[in-house]
Symmetry: C2
Subunit: 347 residues, 2 copies
């Protein structure tokens, strides 16, 4: 019910996904009198069950307030459906902070996780077409231990979500030299490097903003403030270039003819850089999977988020991630008891 | 002498600028035996004076070491030429941290400035074609008072460099809601808002990464860590899209024909998003103007940095910036003596 475009965009997205994938069933949380006509108009009665609930978390609601008073809202119910096992995964276009807050109090954090994170997919030069970046906005702070946990979770996501057996993990910094950046990043570098074998990833060191879409890295680890700014800056740049591209092809009569001839090529490009097609931030570190769609997502965006949610639910990814984190925590305890005996850490 | 491409790229850039603008004279710092042949080959003997100096600051040198032992390097001499008044402005493709360090110890900070900042131009939807962002890498930390000073300096830069009489200043955050983000940002928001009339700017509140290239803001204020990541992320995204654009037009024989016809349009776009054309970070807050070019700048990039340096030197911008900061500091002291009597602060 939240989101900038309201339930109509969500239902339109459901229709797209329902058409493409006969294996998805939907539970839609919100007031029946508003949702039923939308569902009927799109002939989705067989695919969608409505969970009649009145309350709505508005986009500008304070997360702390929603966490106290959010019961009886569609967002609460969506998270609750995952907790109870009615849904394998929940998708929301609503208020990010409130969704994370509700997810934390209802689903609870995985054992061994201090701060959950939001991971996004980033169009890249890698064969899979994507890199993973986290945290992109769950928490504005992250200390060295949090960054280590992000590395473990991000590697797990890349392995199960993108099929990369041994993901390469980089720490986002202002330079690749070891002495650069904030103190917590240097500490994190040591921790992330030491846990590489446990975590089933390769640590490639510090990377810069320009490396985010490159093929030298699969998982970009950063705090939620920096990650959020980077994500939105990348999207903003892509939007700006699309608009400039339009200007360039509208500039003269000849360029308009060229645009007609180049239409297929332009569409191919458009598809590759369309932020709607990589829509869906995944909440990592909870007992259950939540996919946060852009608030402004249209049907294409919502459908992309649903596709991602479906894939993650099918791969049993959250159980694997939990196992990986638990295994590392256990080893970490052994290691600190054993005062740094590295020999036991091989896989 | 620093920079990834060495002095050849610098001299090639000088040639481009010398051709376009007969009013620039150059002092080139470095070993005469290496530089003289380059200058002669490009017939620049009349325009360029060589300052024969042997030492070079390497790209991976530690700034703290260069600050202690940098005397006798080309970088030291370039900064020194500004201090002595031999040059109106210095341009360097070298090691950013070392250049900032040397600039701070030789030129000294302006009265009232705690941390100098590096400001960059960002292609935008504004009529001028650019927004200003700072800090993009002078310092990884910035407290609320630093951010206020960045706002004052950035507004001054936008006024003198881009001709915007009353620049609109925004604080980069993870959301536009007032309760979001880090504590120092909330404090900074109050300071920046209170100083708007003194600083000759309008404060528009928090902005997000996606707003950086938009027309709603002229000056984007942030700490050097976040700003550097955002800058490099934007550049990386632009590079990725350019590469995708190439792929799209190479995909099929028909698309290759379309590309030929669209060549002018594509060149127009290329020019607008080419990071080399906005090359040049300006060091703000020092007694003298230093322009930092990209380390990897080619002749086009170097020439763009020279053009920017020339424009800033001609506008007497640094003196105006110093006056604006001094005036605000004086008022700030009056205001704290007068215990917040706002009535005296009108312009």
């Amino acid at each position: 019910m939240g989101g900038d475009r309201g339930p109509a965009a969500v239902v339109a997205g459901i229709q797209r996904s329902a058409k493409k994938n006969p294996d998805i069933a939907f539970i839609l949380h919100g007031p029946k009198d508003k949702l039923e006509p939308l569902i009927r108009r799109r002939k989705l009665e067989d695919r969608v069950k409505i969970n009649d609930v009145d309350g709505v978390v508005t986009m500008d609601a304070k997360p702390s307030v929603v966490m106290r008073q959010g019961k009886g809202t569609s967002m609460w119910e969506a998270v609750e459906s995952v907790r109870k096992g009615d849904a394998a995964v929940a998708v929301s276009c609503g208020n990010t902070g409130a969704l994370m807050g509700l997810s934390m109090i209802r689903l609870r954090k995985l054992p061994g996780i201090n701060r959950p994170a939001i991971a996004c997919l980033w169009p890249s030069e890698n064969p899979s077409g994507f890199n993973v970046m986290l945290d992109v906005g769950a928490d504005v702070r992250a200390d060295a231990t949090d960054l280590l946990q992000y590395a473990l979770m991000g590697a797990s996501y890349a392995r199960n979500g993108l099929g990369i057996e041994r993901p390469r993990v980089g720490l986002l910094n202002v330079g690749t030299e070891e002495y650069k950046g904030r103190p917590e990043l240097k500490e994190a570098a040591d921790l992330v490097e030491a846990a590489a074998s446990d975590g089933g990833y390769a640590y490639i060191g510090f990377i810069e903003g320009g490396d985010i879409p490159k093929s030298k890295v699969d998982v970009i680890v950063t705090d939620g403030f920096t990650g959020n700014v980077a994500l939105k800056t990348g999207e903003g740049t892509a939007r700006l270039i699309r608009s400039f591209l339009g200007d360039a092809f509208r500039a003269t009569p000849l360029s308009r003819i060229a645009a007609l001839l180049a239409l297929t090529s332009l569409r191919r490009l458009q598809k590759r850089i369309d932020p709607r097609r990589v829509n869906g931030g995944v909440f990592l570190g909870l007992n259950g999977t939540i996919v946060k769609s852009h608030g402004s997502a249209d049907s294409t965006g919502v459908s992309a988020a649903i596709k991602l949610a479906f894939r993650l639910a099918q791969s049993g990814f959250n159980e694997r991630l939990a196992a990986r984190v638990a295994s590392h925590s256990a080893r970490g305890q052994n290691a600190s008891q054993g005062a740094g005996e590295e020999s036991e850490q091989s896989e």
